[in-house]
């Protein structure tokens, strides 16, 4: 395959960036999108140019490190992570636009790499859960209803990649935060912190400069892990409940 890439190049956080055009040849359709970028970078290094910086780690779709908005879609046209997106999703001769996540809360570090520290700070704001430490607890001491376990697990799938923020026209982190709040909110472990957790996480989310939710549904469409849109309504419910109780 021969492709034309238009890639966002930006030297550092303060430098202005621009879309640069590159031609790549000899791309197999079995390559992942990141391997295609590796091919481009090998070319660039041989030509003595600066390779394109992009985030990646496990390359098996479970770590949440890779990002990229490909032709306007977070993680590209398939519902998966960029590392699991294969070049067979594109046609020979295509022009592909590759951009970083765009959000005030995710500043560009270099080229396609953005700082997603805001997500870590939302998690930190959630705080600890009360759990006995020491020897492993008896497995059946705390019963978790099956429905609650399923609900928690569905939301625990969130890998914190930030595709929801990238896809949202308002750069909102509601889907991410709701995944975390739903995950922990239904479990008996951590239930003493149920109210403070949602209040603090939502407050932190706002402080980080993410936009508000207008329920466009773009986040849930982009999410590679399929966190559903109703999770946001569930978090709103949880937040309103905590506001009423507002105890500390």
């Amino acid at each position: 395959m021969k492709l034309t890439l238009r890639v966002w190049r930006q030297k550092n956080a303060d430098a202005p960036g621009t879309m640069a055009t590159y031609e790549v040849d000899g791309i197999s359709q079995d390559m992942s999108f990141l391997e295609m970028l590796d091919t481009l970078n090998e070319d660039l290094i041989l030509r003595g140019e600066d390779p394109v910086a992009f985030d990646h780690d496990c390359r098996e779709g479970i770590c949440g490190a890779c990002s990229l908005v490909i032709n306007g879609d977070a993680h590209g046209p398939e519902r998966t992570t960029t590392c699991q997106l294969h070049m067979r999703s594109f046609a020979d001769g295509d022009t592909i636009d590759v951009e970083p996540w765009r959000a005030a809360a995710f500043p560009v570090v270099k080229d396609l790499v953005v700082d997603r520290g805001a997500f870590d700070r939302i998690i930190q704001a959630g705080g600890y859960i009360t759990a006995p430490t020491g020897s492993a607890p008896e497995a059946h001491a705390t019963a978790v209803p099956k429905a609650a376990a399923d609900h928690a697990f569905e939301h625990a799938e969130c890998i914190g990649c930030g595709a929801c923020v990238a896809a949202c026209p308002n750069g909102s982190a509601m889907l991410f935060t709701s995944a975390k709040v739903n995950h922990l909110g239904v479990l008996p472990q951590g239930s003493p912190e149920r109210e403070t957790r949602v209040l603090d996480m939502v407050a932190r989310m706002d402080e980080e400069g993410f936009g508000g939710c207008t329920l466009t549904g773009e986040c849930a469409t982009a999410c590679p892990k399929g966190i559903p849109l109703p999770s946001i309504a569930a978090m709103n419910k949880e937040w309103l409940r905590a506001t009423r109780k507002a105890k500390r």
Binding site: D97, G171, G212, A233, A246, R248
Partner: protein, 234 residues
């Protein structure tokens, strides 16, 4: 040794609501639902125009004397106006502040443009502004009668006919009702999500209800100018 004790306190519920994006959306949802309930009542009142001038004018007269003799004349009307005005202001101020925030949260746009979300969702902001401007026009036209060319105080039936016998009266009204319907279509469903009523099981029912409300409101309101234009009401 004494344990460290937390002394910081949570801010009041009002403060928490107003300072949070989730809380401000709640303000929008509640004020929106108040206005939506009013619209349904307003539409039901409007279709009384099909039952003749006497019934419609008597209804108009009753609106001014709601709650009598317990309430003084016009008190009921003013109570409704104050609640509605408060809702409009709360809704608009929240929308303005949230929109400013949303725009600031995406300072650099994507180079690869793609249509995001449905038409009703994309037009919430400007649609809301159009509806707001229409309310001003509508009050000047049929409440204060400032812009109504053949105004006749105390005769709402005749004033409605006067409004809908002009091309601009019809155009402004029908365009505004389309904007209202689109706004309700996304707004009602969104309010349910914001208030935490929405979930996967109820989603279809809520979307159906939102579309039904939008459609019934549009049909009910627009039936009046259409009836005047076609001579059904004269």
């Amino acid at each position: 040794m004494a344990l460290a004790t937390r002394t910081d306190r949570r801010p009041s519920i009002t403060r928490t609501l107003w300072d949070s994006t989730v809380g401000k959306k709640t303000v929008m949802a509640v004020s929106g639902l108040i206005m939506l309930a009013y619209l349904v009542v307003h539409m039901l009142g409007n279709v009384k125009v099909f039952f003749g001038a006497d019934e419609f004018n008597a209804y108009g007269h009753w609106l001014r004397h709601m709650g009598e003799p317990f309430l003084h004349s016009h008190w009921g009307l003013w109570a409704a106006r104050i609640v509605l005005l408060a809702s409009v202001v709360a809704h608009a101020v929240s929308a303005y502040q949230l929109s400013r925030r949303d725009i600031k949260a995406r300072p650099v746009k994507y180079a690869h443009k793609r249509r995001r979300a449905g038409y009703a969702t994309r037009t919430m902001r400007w649609g809301g502004v159009i509806v707001g401007l229409f309310i001003v026009w509508h009050i000047l036209d049929l409440t204060t009668l400032t812009v109504n060319e053949r105004a006749w105080a105390g005769h709402p039936y005749e004033n409605v006919l006067a409004t809908f016998s002009t091309w601009y009266g019809n155009t402004i009204y029908i365009v505004a009702m389309a904007a209202v319907a689109l706004h309700v279509r996304h707004g009602f469903w969104s309010a349910a999500q914001t208030l935490g009523v929405g979930n996967a099981r109820r989603d279809k029912a809520l979307k159906f209800l939102a579309n039904a409300l939008a459609l019934v409101l549009f049909a009910g309101f627009v039936s009046v100018p259409v009836a005047v234009m076609t001579g059904v009401v004269s």
